[in-house]
Amino acid sequence: MASARRPSTPGVVHPQRRMRFMLFGILIVFSLFAAQLVKLQGLDAASVSAAAIDRRLHEVTIPASRGVIYDAKGVALAESVERRNITADPTAVATYTKRIDGERVEVGYAGAAEDIAAVTGADPSQLEQTLQASHGKRWTWLQKDVSPQTWQQVKALAIPGIYSEPFVKRAYPLGASMAPLVGWVGSSGMAANGVELMFEEMLTGEPGSTTYELGGRGEIITTGTSSSVPAVPGEDVHLTIDSDLQWFTYDRVAAMVQQAGALSGYAVVMDPRTGDILAAASYPSFDPADDQQTSKSLRNPLFEDVYEPGSTSKVITAAAALEEDIVDLETPFVLPNRLPRGGTRFKDAHDPDNPYVTFAGVLATSSNMGTIMYGEKLPDEVLYDYIKDFGMGREATLGFPGQSAGLVPHPDTWSATSKYTMTFGQGLSSTMLQQLGVFQTVANDGVYVEPRLVKGTDDEDGTFVEEPEDTGERVISSETARELTSILEYVPSAEGTAPLAAVEGYRVAGKTSTADRYDPQLKKYSGVTAGFIGYAPADDPELVIAVAIQKPTRGKWGGSLAGPVFSEVMRYALTTRGVQPSTTTPPEVPLEYDPDAPAPGEGPGVTLGDIAVKDEGTPEK
């Protein structure tokens, strides 16, 4: 070895020494590298790796599916369905080649448009135009809103550059008949009005999220970390609505509004025993399938409009008078042509043909003057309390968006004429639902129950949670209720004010109302509200229905406009719900009397005319 180290050639170093030097250098360099690797992979790894994961990690929200709104029979009124928007990368679509007769031909936009149109049913020239318009771009919408099945068929065509984006669309299978009631959710996912807004929180659910690592091309790294919080779907809401009845009601109201050239119309069907709203239709409505809506068309006048109840109030006044023993059914009245009270001379729509009418006659013929004559005998507070007890001017407990409470002025604020007008339904305002409540109370044996729109909800586990029923609150005795019914049965009879409201085979009780309509825009009375509210069968009421036609231009009387709608809806509802026709006949209630007939229970020679209620001037306070 020693000899090997000696250089064999002058000026040259032995390769062995050079090699040892190089090996030494290599070891030093690799040691430095090893140290750097320990630093990168060991000591600094945690923070660098965290930054790396942070850059790869993406979080995607999983939308929670919105709850379904069902009717009472489980028919879906609003449900969320998955839809697709077809998108295109025109640059890629242009390269679309097809095998035609064994030869590969580049068919480009035209070929792609034709093939896609054949599946989706769109206009091929329209699609081609869309592609041409975005020529040179990398993205465009090609066709919006197709079903997932259609998209699968389009995808199977294997056209390059055709993609889709999923979205959830709110579908309203029953369309316009339900629209103002159910409300609307647009593409933004925000609820607008109706039950959708009323139960927004319940229906929405809790969106979840998925977190995963993404590769350079946007693909999910399958071996990477991923986690997901599942979305909690929204709860389903079950309404008390009967969708068949709702559709029928809507159809009838719409026909009448068009026939009468009216501004709008609405009708409510209720079960008087439970307060369940079985139908609540209003017209005009809107098409929930449109993806644009105005706030004007979305509002539901049935719950939002307030107007003077008119003759409906006479039922309250009559009920109070009967309950307070001021009158009985046969109390005789003598109606004047004019009744001066509080500086005003009140009159009826027609001067009475026969001034000698009983209390029953006053109510049945809807005499304003007769109503004042017994109503003014009620103390202010008593009248006010009865109005309140029947549900007028009460807080809107239903929770329907925009629902109004109406306004019943407190006696402290009454003007000279307030009390008189309020006995026959002017000077106070209420929604149709509140007016329906008056008749519901009478139909339900004198017990008022709060209206109910929602039967219950399905909670997270799918368990049905029932909305509690209102136990009700007695307002008048059952005897008073029966007596009122016997009078109201006269209204839809051949001799009454609303013969068109009669339902053949069933005993019907009801009341027309033709109230002057206060126009908030014009700030004056303009047009009328033609209404009819009634219930059937009168001997055991199953249904109570209210119909109102706002500002008709052809005809104005509640009996002739609202009456026929009431009759048709009532007949349909009674028959479809299997209510047996009435077997009894209405009790005879005398509406008029002979003023010369002897008054029973009085001394001899005293006639009914003598004891009759007459206009004796403004009563002493």
Binding site: M22, L37, L40
Partner: protein, 417 residues
């Protein structure tokens, strides 16, 4: 069952370290070290090329195996050529040297013929029979053999610089390097320069020449770097401490390599578990395969790869030390400089200690020409190792390969008993 070589010391104690030392002194030690290191590197390479290319290969061709099967085919070809090269006698290599050099220069010139193709801005490839061949890889083999042969012939006059330079450097190496430089493949130029310089250094040429050349090279490199925005950017990324995230200009690859290594951490994410190979780290199965090795196999993986190159360097050192033949010494030195310098440039780039130069990791990275050329280089090293005094005798004394293989199968007779 351990098979550690154990030596009984005088006191009767057994020493494992001493046993290994004994084995390393054996004349066949370089041969087996090289064989083992090559086998391991090629195996690790194949497995990691499959893993690292699986995602991009699937995205490109619909199959995760396209790149791997291609690499497997070249590995098979390379192993055959490696075996052949290891059996070619030293004399034959000496005789082949000038012709090999001429062939290499001719092939490299073909790059500028219509057969040549561009790849990523480098004109470095020729297409023959449907294969893309990178002639410069084979040029490395030719340069080593040519240099060793020429310097051996000149060994008596190596004290005079003119004899050192002509004809090895001028025209041999200079023409080859010039052609590669014309194709803009700077990585290969660096390796060829390293081989040329390394062989002269190994041959014992006086150190002062290297000092002068190194000074000139540094000045030249500095001049070229300042003159090019792209090169300045790479140097900034290397030592400028500007790479806080991959979005900084010029830092994308460097930072993603750091991410990959950091993801792997001490023990790795497990084979196949790389995240950065999902279209994030560029060239995951080529120049940056070490980052993926680090990500999947952790620190043991990267250190093993480096250790195997150290083993090759050590084996080459042993050949030089043991051999009496000047050609064998210089050739071993040349091949060592080639493989180790290339490994250093590659690893240094990946771990951020060198600017990103763009050379593959020898024997590991995907790339047919590079793998076949490196295996031929290993074949030559094996031939050199076989030529060591006492080695061929020891190797001949072994039972045949067939007998050795069958020895692990239990004899049927024994089973019958």
């Amino acid at each position: 069952m351990t098979t550690w070589p154990v030596r009984r010391e005088e006191g009767g104690r057994e020493s494992v370290v001493a046993g290994i030392g004994e084995r390393l002194k054996s004349p066949v030690a370089p041969y087996y070290l090289l064989l083992g290191a090559t086998t391991l590197l090629v195996s690790i390479g194949l497995v990691m090329v499959l893993s690292a290319s699986s995602v991009s290969s699937y995205q490109k061709d619909g199959s995760s195996y396209t790149v791997f099967l291609n690499q497997l085919m070249f590995a098979s070809m390379g192993i055959v050529l490696c075996y052949v090269a290891s059996r070619v006698p030293i004399k034959a290599w000496k005789w082949l040297a000038p012709w090999g050099m001429l062939l290499a220069i001719g092939l490299q010139a073909l790059v500028f013929s219509p057969l040549g193709t561009d790849f990523q801005g480098n004109r470095n490839w020729i297409r023959v029979l449907g294969f893309s061949i990178q002639p410069s890889e084979f040029g490395k083999v030719a340069l080593v053999v040519f240099g060793a042969a020429v310097l051996t012939r000149k060994r008596r006059v190596l004290g005079r610089i003119s004899h050192v330079l002509v004809p090895f450097v001028i025209p041999g190496a200079a023409v080859l390097i010039g052609l590669v430089l014309a194709g803009h493949d700077l990585g290969t130029v660096l390796i060829l320069v390293a081989i040329t310089g390394g062989m002269m250094f190994g041959a014992g040429v006086q150190a002062r020449y290297f000092v002068v050349v190194a000074a000139l090279a540094a000045a030249g490199a500095g001049y070229m770097a300042v003159g090019s925005a792209n090169r300045m950017e790479r140097i900034q990324a290397w030592i400028g401490d500007i790479c806080v995230n991959p979005d900084v200009q010029g830092c994308f690859q460097k930072v993603h390599a750091e991410y990959a290594l950091a993801d792997g951490g001490w023990w790795g994410l497990g084979l196949g578990g790389s995240r950065e190979k999902w279209g994030l780290l560029p060239e995951p199965h080529n120049d940056f395969i070490l980052a993926i090795i680090g990500e999947e196999l952790g620190l043991p993986g990267t250190l093993t790869v480096m250790l195997l190159f150290v083993v090759i360097a050590y084996a080459c050192y042993r050949i030089v030390v043991t051999s009496k033949d000047f050609f064998v010494r210089i050739a071993a030195c040349g091949i060592m400089v080639w493989l180790v310098a290339q490994a250093m440039l590659n690893i240094g780039s990946v771990i951020g200690m060198l600017p990103i130069i763009g050379v593959p990791l020898p024997l590991v990275s995907s790339g047919g020409s590079a793998l076949v050329a490196a295996l031929i280089g290993m074949g030559i090293l094996l031939a050199l190792a076989r030529s060591l005094p006492g080695a061929s005798a020891a190797l001949r004394g072994r039972p045949s390969l067939l007998r050795r293989t069958l020895a692990v199968v239990p004899a049927p007779r024994l089973r019958r008993r």
